[in-house]
Amino acid sequence: MNAPPWTAGSAGSAGSAGTSRRAALGLFGGLVGGAVAGGGAAAWAVRTGDGEPAATAGTPVPFHGDHQAGIATAVQDRLHMAAFDLRTTGDAGADRAALIRLLRRWTAAAERMTRGLETVEGGAIPAVADAPPEDTGEALALPPARLTLTLGLGGSLFEHDGRDRLGLRSRRPAALADLPRFKGDDLDAARSGGDLVVQACADDPQVAVHAVRNLARIATGTAAVRWSQLGFGRTSSTTPAEQTPRNLFGFKDGTANIAGDDAEALGRHVWVGAGDDPAAGWMTGGSYLVARRIAMRVESWDRTSLREQEDVTGRHKLSGAPLGATAEHDMVRVGALPATSHVALAHPDSNGGHRILRRGYSYVDGSDGLGHLDAGLFFLAFCRDPRTQYVPLQTRLARSDAMAEYLTHTASGLYAVPPGVGPGEYWAQPLLEA
């Protein structure tokens, strides 16, 4: 009996066409292998190409640099900010020298604390038990928690009640002109202003508090705390890839903020340029900090309908999308928003293209004595020239913003933030050593 035709066929064909079949198989195998390898490699590349993660709790944020840290840095979770008033003796030279000594010691302490160290080596537990510790100790063994310390100089440092206490009046930047009074301001002078201000931001509130407290301790005798503000809850993000945080009105805040890695925008809107103010060249690479303590009438807001909340803000509450758009980062078309909504009035398109880098925090400081929470936004913004970037903006908002009905500005401060500190230098050195 003959073998079945197909067996003969396949045996026969295996012989003569074997080479070509093997070649074909090899080709296919190569294709498959290539496809799998290519797919795998591509997948891996995509994963690692997702952008730099922010420094973790163990990695310190560098203190030294062209610009001070804590401005373009990814926003940390907590704030402790304190303003200081100098104690002056009337002798400009001596007072200036005292200020320089203070800033030297502050710089040294800040440079160490941002690395998670004590203010001085062995500061918390002195070798001599009879001596008070030089580091207060509550941050012992805590990681750096991305602590940044940013120094600002208030207008009163340059001129106080008309007097030039430190001989610095001639070096006052023109952009550091006092902010005007805005409509609806109810400012508490005791909580506003200050000769010096320190912004401590960290992911751990204990680290932030420790930093400010120790700087205050170092300043004993030279400067005293004027006001202090704790902040929780980031209300702005400088890392757009992350989820936008929400403010105490429950709305996403900071969607259209300047990103910390957007060098072009930072150079245009935040860092002071070399030619901006020839009389104050020491500010090149620095910035201006506007601090406003904005009380929010959360109880009234919470009784307001969702529709009204969204119309007042100009964005959908859930997604953060501008009214009339569908996704949070959709382009804002100011014309499509209610004319008195916050976003319509605050958007760069309504303000001549000016942008500011917002870096504020929510606060709740007890009660107002009438059964309501003293809650609000500690608004912090960095800009290159507050005269063109902040004042017109706030004027417009105070006059027309529907949200203004729920807000009251209760404290204010404008500070010149000097450029970054290099190794061996001290804070604001270019100003004090012309």
Partner: protein, 645 residues
């Protein structure tokens, strides 16, 4: 990228297997020349799938969710039927072939050629449509990157390549083993198709038992892992399988396997088996995903973007316009995702599967007014992440305003507003006369009472944006360079400056402005909704500036203002009560009791006749007043929703 690759691999693998077996069989039967019908069927299926998929992705023709499930179901029944037929045809002709009767082979083959082509067409087409929709949605998302398309294409190519490798292996093995193994593989594949189709019918609500899981191994075998993908692609084994699925699978696989493996069954038995299967086969295939639905209603559907990550499911708005809604699932996560739209009772109104990372896909759903839940499932398994949305009929407030009682309330309120505006005008006229006469004492007395009418209707007055700053601006609200006019200039003059000097022009101006208010009341927007909002705003006014004593910074007559604000709110509540009693009966007693208590607190302060200066209130008394205001504010804030719902 990997996830999209796996989708392409999975979709392609099953079709690849079926075609491979067909081709391998024909080649081994020495009929390599008869491959043409098979390739014709495959190509036709690919072309139709791509074309149909493009049509659905880029236009808006549609089927409802139920229809598309049924359509897919019919397709799958036929597919399973044909695959089963094919299994037994192969077995039958194999027996014929073994007796070397070529005529019978040819005859069998000639009968089978058309059926071969059709089987190939259905096998590829079934998977082809779903793959095609996925490909087109990836192409549409190329604005967001080419990776999804590249990944999926690589997956498809890999499936083809694996099929070829299987083909090579199938050619080499012993013939009887070949028949047995390929037949068994096809039975298992067909069983999987049947079971998966059952699951889709359970989702559509046509079969029960969606949540009764026989097993759930999604922890060990995630649907988007490579091994989960291969299991799904070859056996249609899903990590979460319901009891009905498992039962149907067994009911198919066991009898068919028994019949297949028994020697020489009668033709009739085979036919019977196939017929039974066609009858049982209520399987819907893995649904060819949603198709964009017809915009037959003529109005633009509401559009909502649902942004999905691996851990979040966020719609662009929690409020949708009821009707035909287009949802766009934008997957910015790293896992394959799917979106379900669930009605309030948990039934599925619509779904879209297979949305790869970096791609977007649309889904149009009929959503009549009501509450819904959006459910995103990263990895296409598990409970996923839910988000609540509400569909409200457009113009529902307009429909409500047509309620005649609300119209009546608005008309009555407008009359009240006019009367109170006139009251203030009359009071301001008297005030002006007193100022003209230089009578400071009388002016002071008239100051507060002239404001009563204004304070009762303040939100309406404020709705004329330009009048309020002229009439009632406090000094603290002045802008640099702004001219200060209105009541508070008079207040400061009378109570801080101590005289009527220089106040006459201000008083004249005040009278003029109030006369303008009276004239413009008829054009004010007064509806039941603005009334309800206004009542809340009146007490907000009290809470913001009056209970703190800031309003009347010089005269300290805040209590007079507060009394008027409360009266204004109470008037609105009275006018809206007929509607409230029906719409929100629980609200009425709350309003009544809190407003009465608030009035009681105020009355305590004027027990001796007139309201005292606000400065006489101790902090504890201010606190008591503030608490009473807050208590009344809460039910007032629910007025609008009560009459608008």
């Amino acid at each position: 990228m990997l996830a999209n690759y796996l989708i392409g691999l999975r979709e392609g693998l099953e079709a690849s297997l079926v075609v491979t077996i067909l081709v391998a069989y024909l080649v081994r039967a020495g009929h390599g020349d008869r491959l043409r019908p098979v390739w014709a069927g495959v190509l036709a299926a690919v072309a139709v799938s791509l074309g149909f998929g493009a049509l659905l992705s880029f236009t808006s023709s549609s089927l409802s969710f139920q229809s598309q499930e049924a359509f897919g179901g019919v397709l799958s029944i036929v597919a399973v039927g044909f695959v089963t037929w094919m299994i037994f045809w192969m077995r039958r002709t194999a027996r014929s072939l073994s007796t070397e009767l070529r005529e019978r082979v040819d005859a069998a083959l000639s009968l089978g050629a058309g059926a071969l082509a059709l089987t190939a067409f259905l096998a590829v087409g079934r998977e082809g449509l779903e793959t095609s929709l996925f490909i087109w949605s990836a192409v549409q998302s190329t604005g967001e990157g080419v990776q999804p398309v590249v990944g999926a294409t690589l997956g498809l190519l890999t499936a083809v390549a694996l099929g070829y490798l299987f083909y090579r292996g199938a050619l080499r093995i012993n013939l009887s083993r070949f028949f047995t193994w390929t037949g068994a593989a096809l039975i298992v594949v067909a069983g999987g198709v049947l079971a998966y189709g059952v699951h889709d019918l359970q989702e559509a609500g046509l079969l029960p038992g969606l949540d009764a899981l026989a097993f759930d191994i999604s922890g060990a075998v995630p649907a988007d892992s490579w091994y989960g993908t291969l299991l799904r692609g070859t056996l249609n084994l899903t990590p979460q399988t319901t009891w009905l699925q498992a039962t149907v699978w067994l009911l198919y696989v066991v009898p068919v396997s028994v019949i297949f493996l028994r020697p020489a069954p009668a033709r009739a038995a085979v036919r019977a088996a196939t017929a039974v299967l066609a009858g049982i086969g209520l399987s819907a295939c893995s649904s060819p995903a949603s198709v964009t639905s017809a915009t037959g209603s003529g109005e633009a559907p509401a559009r909502v973007v649902v942004t999905a990550t691996d851990t979040a499911c966020t719609p662009s708005s929690a409020r949708l316009t009821a009707g035909t809604v287009t949802l766009r699932l934008k997957n910015i996560g790293s896992r394959v995702n799917e979106l379900y739209v669930l009605r309030a009772d948990g039934s599925i109104a619509g779904e879209r599967e297979n949305v790869g990372p970096g791609t977007s896909a649309e889904l149009t759903v009929d959503m009549p007014a009501g509450s819904y839940t959006l459910q995103c499932k990263p990895g296409m398994s598990g409970d996923g992440i839910k988000a609540a949305v509400t569909a409200t009929a457009a113009g529902s407030t307009a429909a409500r305003a047509a309620d005649p009682r609300l119209e009546q309330a608005a008309t009555a309120y407008r009359a009240y507003v006019l009367a109170e505006a006139r009251r203030s005008l009359a009071g301001a006229t008297q005030l002006r006369d007193a100022i003209k006469a230089g009578d400071a004492a009388r002016s002071k007395a008239l100051y507060a009472t002239s404001r009563i009418g204004w304070e009762r209707i303040e939100p309406v007055a404020e709705s004329f944006g330009d009048l309020d700053p002229r009439i009632d601006l406090r000094e603290a609200d002045l802008e640099a360079g702004q001219t200060w006019t209105g009541w508070h200039v008079i207040e400061k003059g009378l109570f801080a400056g101590g005289g009527t000097t220089g106040l006459q022009p201000v008083a004249d101006r005040l009278v003029t402005d109030l006369a303008e208010l009276v004239r413009r009341v008829p054009e004010a927007q007064v509806t039941a909704v603005t009334m309800a909002n206004g009542a809340k705003e009146l007490l907000d006014e009290v809470s913001h500036t009056k209970v703190t004593g800031e309003e009347e910074a010089f005269s300290h007559t805040d209590l007079v203002d507060i009394q008027a604000n409360v009266e204004g709110a109470r008037q609105i509540v009275t006018l809206l009560t007929p509607v409230l009693t029906g719409a929100a009966p629980d609200l009425v007693p709350q309003l009544e009791s809190t407003l009465t208590q608030l009035q009681g607190v105020l009355d305590e302060h004027r027990a001796s006749g007139a309201f005292p200066s606000y400065t006489t209130l101790a902090p504890a008394e201010r606190r008591t007043l503030s608490d009473a205001v807050d208590a009344a504010s809460e039910p007032l804030s629910r007025l609008t929703a009560a009459i608008a719902s």
